[in-house]
């Protein structure tokens, strides 16, 4: 008779391990965010997708609900200054052409996208403008200036659902990204899916594994107190599994970025988000 309740407790424990994301709802300065959505049709093994916000502690979650408390806005402020700053031989700033940064609303949701047969990410667009139109040096992919400006541009799309194109020209890139996602690499012989698909919600040492969604990037991480680019995060993951990371801004990471973006279709852009 004493055995039964004990079994029930164990079963409840297992059930909660499989759904470690909480039920909190995210409102940023009163604006509701979609942190949960029905998984897009191409995802065979997942029914519901969750923003990484849902896997964080209450304290970390609270930081994102108020733009004043969100430490990423220090960098967004720097981005505003950089956007207006004249640089390079042509005497132009970003704002010389893009007069109103708010015109970028929606851009974050569609990137990366195919342009002239190549897959381009937001960092590529920024650096193209810098080298082609401004006559300036390109910024480092995950450098402070780049992430500040991509955060500012991404912020304009906050609240809009992720919506990347994966058919037509983008299909081969998307396939390549999917291939990477499921390929085991490194000394630990792990693929992205081993953690972020098979085991999301489970503790990995002291931390909850998320689904690895990229709807909040660039993201402010408490561990390094700065904005982190998508490719920088990929690099961190690959180092953790003791693999040799691909190059930031390289074809592999851009393809993976496209595939991951497509796994988050329907989640609100949360740029700039706060994570641990």
């Amino acid at each position: 008779m004493n055995v039964k309740p004990w079994i029930a407790v164990v079963a409840a424990g297992l059930a909660s391990a499989a759904t470690a994301q909480d039920n909190n709802t995210l409102n940023i300065d009163g604006e509701p965010m979609m942190t949960e959505a029905v998984a897009p049709a191409h995802m065979e093994n997942v029914d519901t997708i969750y923003s990484g916000w849902r896997f964080r502690s209450n304290e970390t979650q609270a930081l994102e609900t108020d733009d004043f408390d969100n430490p990423a806005f220090v960098f967004v402020d720097q981005g505003i200054d950089l956007f207006d700053k004249v640089d390079g031989t042509e005497g132009e700033a970003c704002s010389s052409c893009h007069e109103n940064v708010e015109d970028f609303a929606g851009l974050r949701t569609q990137l990366p996208r195919v342009q002239d047969g190549e897959l381009v990410a937001m960092e590529d667009l920024v650096n193209d403008c810098r080298t082609e139109r401004m006559g300036a040096e390109p910024w480092k992919w995950s450098g402070g200036q780049m992430t500040a400006v991509t955060a500012l541009i991404g912020l304009q799309s906050r609240g809009l659902p992720m919506d990347v194109a994966i058919d037509g020209d983008a299909a081969p890139f998307w396939e390549a990204g999917k291939e990477l996602y499921y390929t085991r690499v490194g000394q630990l012989d792990m693929s992205c899916s081993n953690c972020h698909e098979d085991n999301y919600g489970v503790m990995i040492r002291a931390d909850h594994l998320s689904q690895g969604q990229i709807n909040g990037f660039p993201t402010y991480r408490l561990k390094n107190a700065k904005l982190n680019s998508i490719h920088g995060r990929f690099k961190g993951c690959m180092k953790n599994i003791r693999a040799t990371p691909f190059a930031e801004g390289g074809d592999e990471f851009k393809a993976l970025e496209l595939y991951l973006a497509s796994r988050g279709q329907g989640l609100s852009v949360e740029t700039p988000s706060v994570r641990n």
């Binding site: 004043f68 408390d69 430490p71 402020d77 720097q78 200054d81």
Partner: protein, 109 residues
């Protein structure tokens, strides 16, 4: 002038008379402690915000001395009682002599 210094404050736009309101302030500043050395072994000179004040209609509300151990982008949150409509003025004093200030109006209904 230290680069990239930008003060930010959050004060409610309206309040009831005598109500206690929460004020949040943050200034982006690198807060160089003066303890670190550069690649050549030379001490990087101290460059911090050394004082922060808040005034309401000319009357001082808070006056803080900051020390080198305070980390980058110092953040202050405090409460204040507002007796009447008026204006908060926030002032930060930099080691290099710069003074940054910003003000926010509050309406008491």
């Amino acid at each position: 002038m230290a680069s990239g210094v930008k003060p930010r404050v959050k004060v409610p736009k309206t309040a009831a008379a005598g109500e206690t309101i929460t004020i949040k302030t943050l200034i982006s500043h690198k807060m160089e402690s003066g303890q670190r050395k550069d690649d050549d072994g030379n001490v990087i000179p101290r460059s911090i915000i050394n004082r922060f004040t808040a005034d309401f209609n000319g009357q001082n509300v808070i006056d803080v001395t900051l020390e080198p151990a305070i980390s980058t982008n110092p953040y202050f949150q405090f409460e204040a009682t507002v007796p009447e409509s008026g204006e908060f003025t926030f002032t930060w004093y930099d080691d290099d002599g710069d003074v940054y200030d910003t003000s926010k109006k509050i309406e008491v209904a």
